[in-house]
Symmetry: C2
Subunit: 605 residues, 2 copies
């Protein structure tokens, strides 16, 4: 089985280009498909706020409430800001596109770098959180978190390489179940708290006093952690084109709905976590709350599995976003053009593979811990928010269409707020990991521009502009290195003669006796002129190169070196032969105006 | 700096073939040069006997005396046996040559396999013993034994790659010093014991009772260990041609002398070890004896350093023997022919490198322990002794020259005795390591014959016998796959046209719009006929292969596929380009009657 067969089995038969199509989705389905990334952050955002607060002590938990309200306010600002983007970019306005359109090359590259980083983190964080939700329900899986996570990424990668279409109906199910089950959790949870009373949670049973003291910096750190709740809300504005007509209007409505749902779920979970005294532990906050509200009933398991599935869906969305952005960057010359190739299955296979690889490595490097990955996450997200909103500000300022002042004000508020949060996140999370992303983004931008410069230089060097091409009749001269005379050589002679009549065979003399015998045999078999070149040090390649160097430099002449070689029937048999043909090829690789042809004689045994 | 420059610095400039020569040595120098391997075994043979005996208890040490006498008797038989070989093979009669000459292919291959194994072990054992002698004098080196050993092998390998000639005078010095210092040790040692009395040795201070019981099997095991004293005595009969005339006579005299010296040193050291109560420990037996005889004086250090040097010389002899035998085997078609290539420096570099590699790996795998390596050693040696002597028996029997009965009897005694010892060694050492060599030898023989079969099959397939060759005028047809039109393509067109007028450019259509634009541009620049082939699945290579498959199968026509490619200025830039040329080349590798030429366009930036 060769590589191609293996590929067929794994990813399936190639799909013809003609089958490429986009499907259009109604609003609820589009909401479900595009919001899994955003909504799934409910699974870990509250927990990340509490993790910072309990370093002061479980008593500081109440601060999660005002922080959650502040994040909800931020969510509101970002949502109204993005509603404007949708109007302006009905074909989809990702941060890279918006920044490139309005702010120019370097801001666009920064947005591109931030987004690529972000997509990798989306996969790692979502899968890590999904595995944590799973092992909260089944603690015996705790020790296998990393292998389970890597396996999930591998499966998602494989599915995307085969080209699962985001077939709305199927993919919307887990999202709807997640929304419904969390809403049920909130209703039952708050009702129970109001009418029945709550069983004592972790924070009441084991109150702790932490080692940190409460400070404005610590509160900002908790806020910065919670801002991961906003990741993924740009998805709707990126994907306007999948809505039914009128696209922009439907997308705006859907975005608003998503904001409302996300806000409700996030505030609700944070509230319940406070009421029920949930505190960070190996079991996730959502799992603790759900267990206390539902006991060990089927509803608890529905919440956990819905959480696992929506998190895997969230990871899956990055497998559309990352390859698409890589395609944009490659098309514009900032990434290797292999990322612009549409694979066998109509997907950008190289981008998918790279994302799968990077996110698994990241997951494994951080031991599958959501908490360890979070500090890296928000920097990229808020960088792209800020650039995207700033781009919109610039756009309104330049175009000044009807009502531009109000629109500019909205986007300016969005840009300012997200910029401020970016600074907060960058500063408060710097030492715990944000530094890596802050260093990585400019490094990526540098790589992008090096790549662009190379492609531009190649285009210039290959350009037909300002050249005056006249077909030239080149004279062929063939040099045929021979080491003996046998069927393979006779075949090579026939080939050489079919190119030109000017053929010279060259034999390297390392042993006078054999050379004499060879000359005699040569003349018995062929009349091709034979040139003997001496090799006092027994090297084959050196004297040959020397001979070729000395041969004519006529610009109207081209020398083709015909190298006879044989192809063995089994690979290991190659080890039994001097690799002279290969050595000659390699040595001539950098000799301009020398063309090398290998004429192969096939051994059948 | 490229590979060639690096090679020049490491091994020096190539040496012209004309400088090849052999020097002739007088008897004492030849003795010194050829007997380092044999004499150096004095450094470990006694110790290996004692190591087995003390498993019964230190009281069993006395048995080393009769065992040593038996080994000396064996030595006597082997020496007189080899004196005959020298007469019969004045050009050098190694076991492989003698077996091939008289016993046929398979016995010769067994001898070859045994000898190759043996040479690798000679290096590992000698270097390990040398390092042990060194760390007996300087115990702080004990923990570095493996790295020191590997370093020594690397240095010896390097020196041999440069081609140190066995320049007699220089190389004879350590051997003479070794002989002299051990003789001095014996004289002073026995005199001291007779007239002064001996200080109490290890065995007297710490007498032990072991866990084994004394048995005939155990005594045979101890004898088998001691037989390593005989390793290397075939060197003189292998190297008859380096003696001054009359070669055979001088070689015989020298062999006798070597036997006498080896017997004396070995019996003497074994006797002293018994008298002075030496017992196996981290310090070697020779070092223990020398320290008791000479105290901490300069003479002690002379003995130790002479031991280290003669052991390194012993390892060095294998670096002539192994490559020479590999050359014989390669010349006869049993090893890859790369082993028959004389390197830049007139040495068989591939054999030297392989020996260096294998012996270092072996040394490291066995933790630099002589004791662990010894059980593997004697099997190969006695296999080749037995085959070589049996070959001589066969020879006398066939030729029946004057006095053949006596000669036959001598060699038959040799063959019988060494064969018996081989059985003893194989049986008593089987579990402690000999099994590996016993399994390896037939495996090597199998590999040798597979290689031979391949070369014979290639010769048959390439043979000009029974073919009726008439030069054929083949018609050239060029197919030129293009993906655009630029300077590189124009250059490729000129090249293609220099081969034939029948050039067809082929463009794979993966996107109708670009294809139309391309066709228009193509016609503006050239009149080469352009064939558009559709690719519904966007593959470039598949449709091209399909097209080539469908093209003519006329036996008088040959299709050359001219693949335009460019060579980037820096290696990393290659990562930024689709490797289409490479993919096309690879895909066509197994298509017969299709010749691929890469026409390279050089990018300068």
């Amino acid at each position: 089985m060769n590589f191609n067969d293996l590929k067929r089995v794994l990813v399936g038969e190639p799909i013809p280009t003609s089958q490429a199509q986009e499907e259009c989705l109604d609003k609820p389905t589009a909401l479900a498909v595009l919001s899994s990334d955003a909504l799934s952050s409910v699974a870990y955002a509250t927990q990340e706020i509490l993790l910072i607060l309990v370093t002061v002590g479980t008593a500081a938990r109440w601060l999660s409430l005002p922080i959650a309200v502040a994040i909800a306010a931020l969510l509101f600002i970002v949502i109204i800001s993005y509603r404007q983007t949708i109007l302006a970019y009905p074909k989809g306005g990702g941060a890279y596109i918006v920044a490139k359109d309005n702010l120019g090359e370097y801001p666009a590259l920064v947005a591109g770098a931030a987004l690529l980083t972000d997509y990798v983190l989306t996969v790692s964080v979502s899968v890590a959180a999904g595995v944590e939700a799973l092992s909260s329900a089944f603690p015996q899986l705790l020790v296998y978190e990393v292998p389970i996570g890597v396996l999930i990424i591998a499966l998602v990668t494989w599915a995307n390489l085969r080209g699962i279409k985001e077939s709305g109906r199927l993919f919307s199910v887990p999202t709807f179940i997640f929304i419904a089950s969390i809403l049920l959790l909130l209703i039952v949870g708050f009702a129970k708290a109001a009418f029945v009373g709550v069983p004592p949670g972790e924070a009441f049973i084991h109150p702790t006093t932490g080692t940190e003291t409460l400070s404005a910096f610590l509160i900002l750190r908790a806020f910065a952690s919670g801002c991961t709740a906003l990741t993924g809300i740009e998805a709707i504005s990126d994907g306007v084109m999948i809505f039914r007509s009128p696209e922009a209007r439907n997308a705006r409505t859907t975005l608003t709905w998503m904001g409302v749902i996300l806000g409700t779920l996030f505030l609700g979970i944070t509230g319940l976590a406070f009421l029920y005294g949930a505190a960070p532990a190996e079991e996730t906050i959502v799992s603790q709350v759900a267990r206390q509200v539902f006991g060990d009933s089927i509803f608890y398991y529905i919440v956990q599995f819905a959480t696992v599935f929506i998190l895997i869906l969230a990871a899956n969305t990055a497998f559309s976003d990352f390859p698409r952005l890589s395609y944009f960057l490659a098309r514009d010359g900032y990434l290797p053009r292999q990322f612009a190739n549409l694979g066998d299955r109509l997907v950008f296979s190289n981008g998918i593979l790279l994302l799968g690889l990077l996110s698994s490595l990241l997951l494994a490097a951080f031991g599958g811990s959501v908490n360890a990955l979070i500090p890296l996450y928000a920097v990229g997200v808020f960088t792209s928010f800020t650039l995207s909103q700033s781009g919109m500000v610039k756009r309104w300022w330049t175009r000044r269409g009807e009502g531009w002042e109000r629109s500019l004000a909205v986007n300016a508020l969005g840009a300012f707020t997200t910029g401020l949060v970016l600074v907060v996140v960058g500063v408060t999370k710097f030492l715990s990991g944000a530094w890596a992303v802050i260093a990585l983004i400019p490094a990526l931008v540098w790589v992008f521009s090096k790549i662009k410069a190379h492609y531009e230089s190649v285009t210039r060097q290959l350009s037909l502009q300002a050249i005056n091409y006249q077909p030239r009749k080149l004279k062929q001269k063939v040099v045929l290195p021979v080491g003996g005379i046998h069927r393979g050589i006779l075949q090579a002679i026939d080939y050489a003669r079919s190119i030109t009549d000017d053929v010279t065979a060259v034999y390297v003399d390392i042993d006078t006796l054999s050379t004499e015998a060879f000359c005699k045999r040569w003349q018995e078999w062929t009349d091709v002129p034979l040139k003997i070149i001496p090799s006092p040090t027994r090297s084959i390649v050196e004297p040959l190169l020397q001979y070729l160097r000395e041969s004519s430099d006529d610009p109207d002449e081209v020398t083709t070196v015909v190298v006879p070689t044989f192809v063995t029937a089994k690979w290991w048999q190659n080890l039994l032969h001097n690799q002279t043909a290969f050595l000659i090829r390699s040595a001539l690789l950098l000799r301009r105006r020398k063309v090398v042809v290998t004429v192969r004689f096939y051994l059948d045994e």
